[in-house]
Symmetry: C2
Subunit: 367 residues, 2 copies
């Protein structure tokens, strides 16, 4: 198979806001994958200090010469996902005199993608943007679906907008430089798709985990393709999370509490989600929905991905609840959790007895 044969394309079906996801090796250096999605000549690349030395020049070399290309290089890390960082993007756009026909390009992981998307959503009340995710987590999850935004000291992603990209370009070659901790974090979201929706995919992942961990290109591309296919389907059915889209948040309510309590960036988002999914599985078992064998299977695949099996030692029950009460899924004072009604089948549940939740939070392993 030649490298360009290896490129596969999915579509996120949202009427006039529909867009393609191109997945394959070597996309970065090929202008024809990007130029059809530009709104005009003005292009602002947003990236960070980790990604810029690796891919910025290669990416720019792939752009046609007639474009007016500028760049913003932000610091790296979840703790930089703030309104102040987004304001730097706006400052750069205005300093360059960019107008409504400009296009923002997010070159980096989930933090870069979320901030760039939010900057695009609100610059002159909305301009085009393109996702070029360079981490596994952003390739399988955050770059698809139009959730953009920043964190607030009181909660993750509290300020943001739904704003769809014009295209998602996933160059799987960029994973070659991904630190193994970030690879594991990305695998958490991949495992999530199996757990909430596709038992066959979960079984495939269990078998392929060693190949994924050693960055086997073909296996990785298959995992990314199947993950994006599920994400695209869910987003197309419920763009603004009025219902089913919330199921993509398995493990996230517990995970956000860990991230917020530990300080953004101390735990990677995917690591916190991995532990959070295990907590959700265990709570589902206590509610009678999963067997002990099911939970053991979840624990095994989380362990195989080298994700943390226990919550932080310094988090008490109230530390979890304080953040969970502010979760965006809640309605009035009711906590809503994504749980597993079976393996491969998630549900949104708002009737967990508080004492059952507190017992889970008290009993769950720490380390």
């Amino acid at each position: 198979m030649s490298r360009s044969d290896a490129i596969r394309t999915l579509s996120v079906a949202l009427d006039e806001r529909s867009y393609p996801i191109h997945i394959g090796p070597g996309l970065l250096g090929r202008p024809e994958t990007l130029t059809p999605y530009l709104a005009g000549r003005q292009v602002m690349i947003v990236t960070n200090e980790t990604v810029a030395p690796l891919y910025l020049e290669a990416f720019k070399r792939g752009l046609p010469e007639e474009l007016e290309v500028r760049e913003v290089v932000l610091p790296d890390g979840e703790h930089t996902k703030t309104l102040e960082s987004v304001a730097r993007i706006w400052d750069a756009l205005l300093a360059a005199g960019f107008n409504r026909r400009c296009t923002l390009v997010a070159l980096g992981g989930g933090v870069v993608g979320d901030m760039t998307g939010y900057a695009a959503a609100c610059y002159q009340r909305g301009v085009a943007f393109i996702q070029v995710p360079t981490t596994l987590l952003s390739q399988v999850d955050s770059s698809v679906g139009g959730k953009t935004g920043v964190n607030h000291p009181r909660g993750k992603n509290m300020i943001g907008a739904f704003w769809q990209p014009k295209a998602v370009l996933i160059d799987t070659d960029t994973l070659a430089t991904l630190p193994s901790r970030e690879l594991s974090a990305g695998l958490a979201e991949v495992i999530k798709y199996g757990l909430i929706r596709d038992l066959d995919f979960l079984a495939w992942l269990e078998a392929q985990m060693p190949a994924l961990r050693r960055l086997d290109g073909e296996v990785l591309r298959e995992a990314i393709y199947r993950s994006c296919a599920i994400k695209a389907e869910v987003v197309a059915a419920d763009e603004t999370e009025q219902g089913a889209r919330a199921l993509l948040n398995l493990g996230h309510t517990f995970g956000h509490a860990i991230e917020a309590h530990q300080g953004y960036g101390a735990w990677l988002h995917g690591e916190a989600v991995g532990t959070g999914m295990l907590m959700a599985a265990e709570l589902s078992r206590r509610l009678g929905w999963l067997s002990e064998g099911d939970v053991a299977r979840v624990a095994a695949v989380i362990a195989a991905a080298d994700l943390p099996p226990a919550a932080p030692a310094d988090m008490g029950v109230e530390d979890f609840l304080a953040v969970m009460r502010l979760d965006k899924k809640n309605i009035d004072a009711r906590l809503r959790l994504v749980l597993l009604s079976g393996l491969g089948d998630a549900c949104l549940y708002d009737a967990t007895p508080p004492e059952r939740l507190e017992a889970l939070l008290a009993d769950f392993p720490r380390r």
Copy 2:
């Protein structure tokens, strides 16, 4: 006619985002005008230090007791229309633990409305909001149509979103406390509707200007109703300003330059728009589209509304051009201006010869 008979209703037709505009006296104290549009029990009233002493208590007294009502009182003035002020609204929402089913209420003029709308657009990726405009300018223009946002030191309304309210409640009694300078500023936008679209309305305004200036209730309500009807029609046809909606910006490109150069708040927005419309009319005459008599008629109605007939003495040609080049209507490097192809008929024109524009900017009266 009883006071409740005097309430008239228009609709902004935007499919599932359609909403009503209720216009009449005494709306503030009547909960039934507000409650149908609340998303849930949590209500955050956003107002400013000028409006709060006049109407906040009356407004709150009109709310049902079962609601959880909080308030944010911001400083007054266009110079406060910043991202920092909006962040104060977000802080208040998070401190109160408000969720996705909360509703923001903008009680005040255009600055309060634009900031509250933007805060609602981005809080938890979008919550409900209701406009309760208390100035003539916000009643006839900014509260209708979903343009929200804040200023940036480099340009007006550069950061924002299209986000429609659930309802617009125009209590015309609030105009009784409006300073006469702000009344004039509001009349600028009223006159605008006549100039761009409705010559009959312009003639009616010329006749009724003395009644409007002395706050005759019935005449004011008619002016507000006809203005909102035109605005609603234009917005329904072109919500995100891909075309015809830009015509509502007659005088605004010149006006924004005045506002930005003088420092936000030194000139009221409507004052700058008034002068800007006169500049647009004069440029239209020089392009052969209006007669001298037409321009004299525009000048007379602007004068009758007590709006400034001349640009600021300290503004040179380049001061105008520097801001105008960043106008959101421009495409790539081309200036696009709203001009008058005739009285009652506006057009969007991007082929003004630069020397004609510069001559207009050089010749236009200063004081």
